[in-house]
Symmetry: C2
Subunit: 401 residues, 2 copies
């Protein structure tokens, strides 16, 4: 018989919009063009020496499986970290995962069956779409706009998207890709929707500390009224700049959710042992590492937004946190523009790679005039990148105003 075909879910899964430009960027480098890669989320910052020291001093004769729920010392370190940011979990309410990615997958599988629906706010972290396809579920998007600073719409607008198949709301706070941080009122409004409609909240709080004005937001897990239905997903990747370690966690006071996550964790046996050991001192003394990290991103944010404000045709909502800003660009198609930038443009031998907007939307036909910048390079490179953008918009054949 003919070669069998791949699954529908495989075919419907989008290729990463963030990594799409890589071949073109590599080709540009081959031509001697310097490419400022602001499209991907790999910062240029060092990994704390405390992490590297544990790796280099690894003295065990065997790299053995860790327990499926995580090494006891890593679970305890997460527990102490959460306590410091105002959230209390017992050690059996925390499961160490292979990156925040696995935590989100476990959360989705714990609360949804194929055909179920989950609410998301768009623009969204594109990999939520991949995880939903893997789980066989549908994302119902609620659109946020640059014009309102990506504020949440009124509760009744959100509630209109809830059907009898809706099981959860995913919320990334501070948000990738918008840099928006929910107000306390917005958090309370979401909590109330979850309470009234019997939904879980999957709270992706990876960028918790990275806030440029005022205090970091409270964790959804600290809102008493919804303690039974919050699933916290987290990661050390950006907070401690060790993206390649692949250590995250899922935490919940909902016993059924943790039971489910533990069974999924047993299925994949364990997360990497060496990195679980190496993140312990970072989680145990997090403030020491995050204070300077947040300062760095705040400086980059200030410098980049100041430079972007000098380009009248670019609009954006000033980010309050995370390490991203979503730009509105006067172009026919952000995908064509981003490709052209890397393939056909340079300013004094230098160009910039941005992540095109459509990949950040579930709704088709949105994002064609937007692109995301990640502040993964220092101020001089960000400053030059803004100048490159301004010059490029002058020359790009598809600039619309």
């Amino acid at each position: 018989m003919n070669t069998p075909t791949s699954s529908h879910r495989a075919r419907q899964t989008p290729a990463s919009p963030i990594r799409k430009l890589q071949a073109a960027a590599d080709a540009a480098r081959g031509r001697g063009v310097r490419v400022n890669q602001l499209n991907i989320g790999q910062p240029d910052l060092p990994t704390p020496p405390e992490f590297l020291a544990i790796v280099r001093q690894f003295a065990e004769p065997v790299v053995a499986y860790a327990p499926s729920a995580g090494l006891p010392e890593t679970i305890s370190a997460w527990q102490r970290y959460f306590r410091r940011v105002g959230t209390d979990f017992s050690t059996d309410q925390i499961i160490v995962t292979t990156g925040g990615s696995e935590a989100i997958i476990f959360a989705l599988l714990a609360v949804t069956d194929p055909g179920d629906e989950v609410l998301v706010f768009e623009p969204l972290y594109p990999n939520y779409v991949t995880f939903a396809q893997m789980a066989g579920i549908t994302l119902r998007p609620i659109r946020l706009t640059l014009e309102t600073g990506f504020r949440l719409p009124p509760a009744k607008v959100i509630a209109q998207q809830i059907s009898r198949r809706t099981r959860a709301i995913i919320v990334c706070n501070p948000a990738n890709p918008t840099g928006a941080v929910l107000s306390d009122d917005e958090q309370r409004a979401l909590a109330e929707i979850a309470r009234v409609h019997g939904l879980f909240i999957i709270a992706d709080e990876t960028y918790r500390e990275i806030v440029f004005r005022g205090q970091p937001p409270r964790s959804f897990a600290s809102i008493a009224e919804i303690q039974d239905r919050v699933i916290l997903v987290d990661s050390v990747s950006k907070r401690f700049n060790c993206c390649g370690a692949r250590i995250g966690c899922i935490a919940s006071t909902n016993q059924a959710v943790i039971d489910a996550a533990l069974k999924f964790a047993q299925g994949r046996l364990s997360s990497p042992t060496i990195e679980q050991m190496a993140v312990v001192p970072l989680l145990a003394d997090s403030v020491r590492f995050t204070d300077s990290l947040v300062e760095t991103y705040a400086r980059r944010n200030g410098s980049l937004t100041a430079a972007l404000k000098l380009i009248p045709s670019i609009r954006f909502a000033e980010p309050a946190g995370a390490l991203y800003v979503m730009l509105s660009l006067p172009v026919d198609s952000s995908e064509r523009f981003c490709q052209w930038l890397v393939e056909s443009f340079h300013l004094d031998g230098e160009t910039v790679a941005l992540a095109p907007g459509p990949g950040f939307y579930v709704t088709s036909n949105l994002g064609h005039h937007e692109a995301r910048i990640a502040y993964v390079l220092g101020e001089p490179a960000l400053d030059r990148s803004a100048k490159i953008l301004a010059a490029a918009l002058e020359q790009y054949p598809g600039t619309t105003r």
Copy 2:
């Protein structure tokens, strides 16, 4: 509203039958009883120093994301390894995964949609059941029996389990938990079924080299007639005794499958960077490491089976490979017996933990008179464990003959 409930798939996922006895084993140790843990797959062997040297010499200032498909040098190392065992893949037909577990999940998601079916042979590796629940699919079991040495039934018996929803056959060769190795005729018969019925073969060849008699079996990926429909899943864990490294791979010449796996891989960003670097010398020079490993397991197999043969009431099929043997025990319930062994029995202050049989079956009510031993300890401990088993069967209140 009331607390929302977890998903059906979460509730239907079994807890790991292998890790279930852990609390009882820890309690026994607390009472001063020595527990020979033959229930879990963590061998007592050292990790090769070449792996540890790379970890200890990690000199990068940043633990950065690896490419989603894997580090180029790790992909190349897998390619050279596969070439050595008789299988040719191009580098873009191989994706590095986080353990063999993730490779199996990617393979299932690449070829099945919710509600689809996959054929398995039982007794089976229990985590296949977890992965199927996560994917929302149904496993259709074909029973193999100890009496026939776990040989495959005739092709028409296998074909009877195929419906219009069947998408693939998972086959573990050499097999966990039976230690059976497929004959060339059996491999050809399975290939023919896959060809005629338009099915994928997901070939889990993790134990490839660990064969005690004759040559290791050929890879399913080397059978020309089904090159378009074989998905190879593999892992470094047992072959190089680095279970906690969490490095595996998925390889296929089917472009649609690899495209799908790459998109899933992009969703979870990357596998751990440090371990990807550390496995390169092991894959590059695999024979040097596996030759002595195979000798060790062959010695253990010989010693254990010789000791078991002295217990007339225990039956088993002599394993030809892997590191497991499935025992038929004269007991009312293997779950009760295994629990009793750890909780209520010792011989001179020593007992043994086995993995009870039911967890290795999809069909309910099978495996109640079976248990699996993993050869994860040396010959003296295996020998004592056989003696402990013999004495326990004399004393256990539920012994049936």
